[in-house]
Symmetry: D2
Subunit: 430 residues, 4 copies
C-alpha cells in the first residue's frame, strides 16, 4: 500500500471538520453477481472523504496544484474548490498554483507559482480554460522535488491524465526516497471519460452537451442542401463515449464511428455502401466519428498513398472526408460534404452543472486525502461513491464502451446503422 | 416475486435483438463494507436489459403509455424512445399514448388515445412538456383494465412518481386477477431525485442547470442594490437535491435550506440573525430554499396567525419572504427583497444531454422488461446499472440528502453557512 | 441651446483621437415625405461623435458615473466602455462610480464612490446587474453639486430613465448657476424601449430574448395539461414593445395585451369570451400581458372590490389570473392556469451581443459629448445614427407601438387574436 | 419604374387587411445635413406595407418561394411568415416551395415543389437551415418562366443575395416580355450585412452572437497555454460587420482584420511585429479575421509561392496561421496556435429574437408588395422603415464599414490595435 505517508509515524492532528468517514470502509469494483453465486475475490477501494485524524497540521501546510494536458471543462472549478477547501475548511494558510503544467515545477522552465487568494479564485469557475495554465509533457522528478522541498510545499495536487498521474507517482516516490513528507494526490482529467475505476470524469458531460449543439448544426447543414453529408469529428482517442453520448442525446446522427467497433469502408455493406444507400433514400446524412476510430484504416491508407508518412493522414476526419468525396464522385452522385472539427470549441467551455458539482466533490475529496497523509493516489468515483485509487491501478485499467451493452444498443437504435459494416457474411454472428 | 407474468406459462418468443443480458445477474443495493467484514445479507435487484426469450410475440403486441403528475424535463424523450424501441427494435405494430395521465385510461373522462407514428414522435425530444399530456390523480383500476382489455392493450408504460407507480401496481394486480396478460412497467419520474434504488432520475440534471441560471439572476439582483436579498424557492418536497446541487454548482448562494436539515428562524444564531450579520458585513445575500424545507415553522405560524388554516401560509417561499421583511423592518435595516419562484420555468425545459441519455436508456430498458413479460416493477438505476425494482420496494424506500455526507459538506463550504441555525448550545454536537 | 458649457469660452483642447465628426451635421427626426411634397420644418438633432476640439483638458479631468432605477441588461457594459473611452482613448486619469444611484451623490446617504480601475472593470461586461449599484429616487441637486464640486468632478454620466435624466438636468442647471464647469451627459435606460428620439434602447433586445424563453416554457406548460392556460406578465409600463417583440419572435402566443390597445374583458367578444372559444377549440392558450396593459380595468375593479385601494390589485397579472379562473369556474370548464412573472429574471441577464454593441457605442458617444463640453443632453439613436438629445426634448416625447403599423399587424397575425376585444359593434371600423 | 405590373391595368381588388400605408410615402436615403444647408436631391424609396388595393385577387393566387445560396439564420422564419401572411392574412389558397434553390425552378433538375401547409410550416422557425433546401447557381429564365406559367404561379418570392436578386429580375423581365402577370419580390439574404439600402439583413445578429461564443472559446484556449494564439476566421467577404460586431461585443479580441482596412503583415509595425510585442508582453493573443480581409496578401503570396494557383492559399485563415507559425519559429518564440473556422456552425443556428422579428417583418412586407402587384424589387429596411428597393439599385450599392466611423473606432478601442499596421511613416496621417 503506497498510499499513505508513513515515514513520520501515525497521523496525529485532529481534523477541524465536523464530519468524517469511516476510513475502514471499502467499495468493491465488480458488484454484479449471479443468483446464488458466492461473492468472489475482488479489487476494492478505500472510501474517500474527510478523516478524523490528519497527518498534517493545517496551520503549517503549504499546498500547491498544477493542471496538465489538454483543456477540459471544469479545471477552474477544481482549482477553486481545492483552494477553498484547503483554506476555509482546513485553515491552510498558503496555496500556490504552479503555472503551465509540469513545466512550472522546473525553475529553469517556469516562473514563480501564483499565490492563490480569495479574490483571485472567486470568479474563475464561470470561465473555461485554466487560470494557472497548462502544458503537455513531463518534468524531471528530481528537479521538481528539489523545488518543492525548497519552497516547503507539503501537498501537491496534480490534475491531469494518465501521463500526469504517472508523473505524480514519480514525484511521490522521489519525495519518499528522501524521507520528505509530501502528499501527492491526483484528480483524473480526461474529457473522453475513459478511465478505469472512475465512472464519470469531469468535463465529459459538458463536452457531450457541446457536441450535441454542433451535431444540431451539422444536421441543419446536411438537410438544407441536396445530398448533404455532414461529418463531425469529436474527441475520443480510445473510447467513444462522447460520440455515443452525443448521438443518443441528439437522435439526429445516422452513422456513429468509435474506436471500440472497427468498421470496413469499402465493398458491399461497408460504410461507403451504407452511406450511398442512405443518400439515395433520404438525400442527407450525419456522421459522427471519434478521433480514435478507424485507426487501422489510416495506417493502411498511409502506406498506400503516401510513402513519406504524412502525419495529416493519421487524422481520421480529413481522411474520411476525402474518401467520401472520392467515392461519390466515382458513383456519380453529387454530394455536398461539410466537415466539422469542433474540439477546441468543446473543451474550452465552462463546466455545466453536472461537471461543476463533480469538480467540487473531486477537489474536496482530494484535499481530505492529502490532509490525512494519503499519497500516490487519485480520487476515483465508483458506484456513486468517491474512492481512493492507487495510481498504479488507475494506469493499468481502461474503460471502454461495451459493444454488447445498453449504450451501444442505444446508439444503433438512434442511428439505425448496422451492427457491423462489411460484407453480409462478415457481419453475421453465429 | 410479483414481477413476471406467469399466468400463461413460460416465455417463448425469440427476441429479434442481437444482444441480451444474463437474466440471472443481480445488483446488490448496499455495497460498502468494512475491511475484513463478511458481506451481509442484502437487498439485490434483477439487472435490466434485453432478454433472449420474450413473453410476448412482438408482431401481436399492442402497447400503450401514459405520463402522470407534474412536468419534468425528458418526458418527451421517454415517449419517443419507448415508441422507437417497441416499433423499430422489436417490431411492435401498434403503440398508443393515453392522453392527460391516468384520466385518459377512463373512457368517461378521457378521449381516444393517440396512435403514435414515426412522424408524430420524431421531433418531440427537443421540446419540454409532454406531447401526450398529463394530469394528477388516480383512475379506477377496474374501469381502466376494462378499457385496456377492450382495446387489446398488452403492455402499459406508466411514467410518474410514487402515486403513479402505486396505481400501476393496482392495474397489474387487477389484470392478474382476471388472468389477462398485461405487462405494466413503470419509469420513475421525480424531478426531485428522491427515489430509493434510483441513483439518478431523469429531469433532475436539467432542473439543476435551470436553477443555477435563476440563482445567477438572483445574485445579480441582490448585488446591484444596497442590502439586496434574493430568495429563490426551488423544487424539493422531501429532499433537497436540487437546492444542494444548484448551490454547489453556482457557488453564489449564502444560505441553502432543505427538508433534511431543520432550521431555527428566530433568536441568536437563528437564520434571521445570521442573515442580519451577513447583510451588515456584505450588503447582499442569496437564499435558496427547497419547497419542503421548514415545514415545521409553517405549521406553527399557521396556527398562530390564521385559525382558518390559510393554505397560502404553507408555502415556505412567501412565508420566509414576509418573515425576512418584517425582521429587517424591526431591526431598522432597509432591505430590498426579491422573491423568485421559478418552478414552472424549470420543469418545462427540454432535457439536457445528461437527461436525454438517461431517458433513452430508461425507456429502452422498460421495453425490454415488458417484452420479457416483467410486470409490477419500475426501472431503477443503481451503481451505474439499470435494474428492475418491484413497485413495493420503490414506494417503501426514500432517498434523502445525508447531513453528514459529502454533498452537504460541499453545500456548507459553498455557502459558508453554519452547520445548524440556532443558539450556540443547540448547534453543538457532543 | 442649453447643451454646451459656454461659461468658460470656446473649447480649446485638441482631441487625442484621430477621427472626428462634423459638428454641424444634423439628423432630422421625421423623414418620411409624400411624393412631390416640400420638406416641412422639423426637429433635428446634432450628430454625436468625437469632436476635434475639446472643452476639457483630458489630463485634468475627473469623471464619474452613476446608474439609477431598475436593472437593465447592459449596465455593466456601459460602465466599462465609459471607463475605457475616458481613460484609454482620452487619457483621463481618474474615473469614479458613485454607488447605488443618486443616493450615492449625497454624502449623508452614500459612501465613498468607487475609484474605477482596469482590473475592476475588465470582466464586468459578462455579468448582469450593475457593479456600482443602483437605487430609485432623486437627490437634492444642491447637495449633490456641493459634493461634485468638493471632489473636483467635471464630468458626470447619468444612466437611467426619465426621472434620472430630469435629475441630471437639475444638476447641470445647478452647476451652471454657480458657474462651475460640469458636463452632465445622460444615457437613456429603459428596458421597455419607449423613449422618443431613441429607436433602440439597450437591454431591450436581451429582454425580448429572455421573454421568448419564458414564453416557450409557458407554452409547454399550457399544452401539457388539459385546458392549460399560461399567463405571462412582461415589462412594459407604457409601451408594449417587449410583449410584441417576444410574441412575433415566439409565434406561440395566442393573446397579447399591451398598454396601447385597450381591451374589454367581459361580454360577447371580450377577452374572456375569446379565450373560452380558444380553449374549447384547442384546449390550451398562452397569454402575454405587458404590465401597463388594462390599467383602466384595474382602477374600476379596485373601486368595486376594495375600498381601501389595495395596491396589489393594481397589478394586472394577478388580476387577470383571478378573472380568468373565476370566469372558467362560472362557465364550468376546468382549467389549469399557470402564472409567470419573470421580470427579475429577465432584467438581470447579461447583455446579448446586440445590446453589448449598443451599450459600447452609447457610452463612447457619451464620452465624446462630455469631453467636448456638451451638457444637459442624453445620447439618442435615430435612423442608424447616434445623436444628442436635449433632456427637455427627451422627457417630452414618448415612443409607443402604433396600433395601425406593421409591428401590431405582425402581432395580430402571430396570435390570430381579433383587432379589438369587445362586442361586434364596438370592434367594427367603418 | 419597373416595379409594378402594369400590363393589365390598375390594381382593383380590395385588400382584406384593415390597415394600409399611404403608397405615396417616400423614405430618403441620405438624411444627414449641415445646419442651414438646403436638402439636396437624393434617392428615395417607396415605403413598404399593405396597400388598400391589390393587383391580384387573393382567392385565385398561386404563390411560390425559393431560398438560394448559403445558409443564414432565419430562412425558415421567412418561409413560415410568407406562408402565413399569404394564406391567413390574404386568403391565398395555394403556396409552394420550390426545392433546393433555383435548380428547383428547372423541371429537368428539380423535383416537384412542396405544397406548404399549416402543419408543415408551423414548427420550422425554431430550427436552423431551410426546410425547402437551397443551392448555389442560376436557372435559365426562359425554362423557369415556362415552368411558372405552366403551374399557374403568379407570385414568386426569391430569398437570396445579389446573384439571386439578379436572377429574380431576369424572371420578372422574361414574364413581362410575355405579358404574363408575375410578381417577383426579393428578400435580401446576406449574413454579412453588406447590402446597400438595407440597414440590417436577417441572420446577422444571430451570427454575431454565435461568433462571440466562439471567440470566448478562442480566448480561453489562448489564455490557458503559454504564448497561446487563437485565430478565428469569421464570415465577411467584402465587409467586416461580423468581425467588428463580435469584437465590440466580446471585448476579448486583440486584433481584428476586415476587408475595408488593408494591413501589412511583415516589417516593423506590421501585424506580425505587433503580435510579437503582444505575446512578449501578455503571453497570449486572440485574432479575428474576416474571410475577405487581406486578399491582396494572398494574391501576392500565391504568385510567389505557388505558380499553379493553389486554391487553398486563397483562404486567409490557413494562410495567416502558417505565416504566424513560421514567423514565431523564426524569432524563436514557441507559440501554440489554435485555428477556428466556425462558419458552418454559425450560419446553421436558428434565428435569435432580433432576427426572428426581422424575418417576420421582411416576409409580411414582401407579401404586401406582391399582392399589390409590385415586382422587380426587394424589401429593404432603412431608417427604421421597410421600403421597396428596385433590384437594379440594390445590386449597384454596397454597404461597407467606415474606417473613419464610430464602429471602427469602437473596434480599435476594444482591441487596442493600431489604426494601421505598417511602418510608422505609413501609418501616419497628417
Amino acid at each position: 500500500m503506497p498510499m499513505t505517508i508513513d515515514s513520520l509515524g501515525v497521523a496525529k492532528f485532529p481534523s477541524p471538520l465536523r464530519w468524517a468517514v469511516n476510513g475502514a470502509t471499502r467499495i468493491p469494483y465488480r458488484i454484479a453477481r449471479e443468483i446464488g453465486a458466492a461473492p468472489g475475490d475482488d479489487i476494492d477501494f478505500e472510501i474517500a472523504g474527510s478523516r478524523k485524524d490528519l497527518f498534517f497540521n493545517p496551520a503549517r501546510v503549504r499546498a500547491a496544484m498544477v493542471t496538465c494536458g489538454g483543456l477540459c471543462p471544469g479545471l477552474n472549478n477544481v482549482i477553486r474548490s481545492l483552494y477553498y477547501e484547503l483554506t476555509h475548511a482546513y485553515g491552510v494558510p498558503e496555496v500556490y498554483g504552479f503555472q503551465y503544467g509540469y513545466q512550472g515545477l522546473d525553475p529553469a522552465r517556469g516562473g514563480e507559482p501564483i499565490r492563490l487568494t480569495d479574490e483571485f479564485v472567486d470568479p474563475i469557475h464561470k470561465r473555461g480554460g485554466t487560470v494557472i495554465g497548462t502544458s503537455r509533457g513531463p518534468v524531471d522528478s528530481v528537479v521538481a522535488v528539489d523545488n518543492l522541498v525548497w519552497r516547503g510545499i507539503n501537498i501537491l495536487f496534480c490534475v491531469g491524465g494518465d501521463g500526469t498521474q504517472r508523473g505524480a507517482l514519480a514525484l511521490h516516490q522521489e519525495a519518499e526516497r528522501r524521507g520528505y513528507p509530501l502528499a501527492v494526490v491526483g484528480i483524473p482529467k480526461t474529457i473522453d471519460n475513459d478511465v478505469g475505476f472512475v465512472a464519470r470524469t469531469f468535463g465529459y458531460s459538458t463536452a457531450v452537451e457541446a457536441a450535441r449543439d454542433i451535431i444540431d448544426s451539422a444536421h441543419m447543414e446536411a438537410r438544407s442542401v441536396e445530398n448533404g453529408i455532414s461529418l463531425v469529428k469529436v474527441m475520443g482517442r480510445h473510447a467513444g463515449y462522447i460520440a455515443a453520448g452525443a448521438t443518443i442525446a441528439s437522435q439526429d446522427v445516422n452513422f456513429t464511428l468509435v474506436p471500440e467497433v472497427p468498421f470496413v469502408l469499402d465493398g458491399e455493406g461497408g460504410l461507403l455502401d451504407a452511406l450511398t444507400r442512405r443518400i439515395r433514400k433520404r438525400s442527407h446524412a450525419v456522421i459522427v466519428v471519434a478521433e480514435g476510430a478507424g485507426q487501422d484504416l489510416l495506417d493502411r491508407s498511409a502506406g498506400e498513398t503516401d510513402a513519406s508518412g504524412n502525419i495529416k493522414l493519421l487524422d481520421i476526419g480529413p481522411f474520411l472526408r476525402q474518401r467520401i468525396e472520392s467515392h461519390f464522385k466515382r458513383v456519380g452522385i453529387p454530394v455536398a460534404v461539410r466537415y466539422f472539427d469542433p474540439s477546441y470549441v468543446i473543451r474550452s467551455r465552462p463546466a455545466n452543472c453536472e461537471d461543476a458539482i463533480l469538480c467540487d466533490l473531486y477537489a474536496r475529496n482530494a484535499v481530505h486525502a492529502a490532509m490525512a497523509g494519503k499519497t500516490g493516489l487519485v480520487i476515483g468515483h465508483l458506484h456513486e461513491t468517491f474512492i481512493h485509487v492507487p495510481v498504479e491501478a488507475l494506469v493499468a485499467e481502461k474503460k471502454r464502451l461495451n459493444p454488447e451493452g445498453g449504450w451501444w444498443h442505444a446508439v444503433l437504435a438512434a442511428t439505425g446503422q448496422p451492427e457491423q459494416f462489411g460484407p453480409p457474411a462478415a457481419s453475421g454472428k453465429p
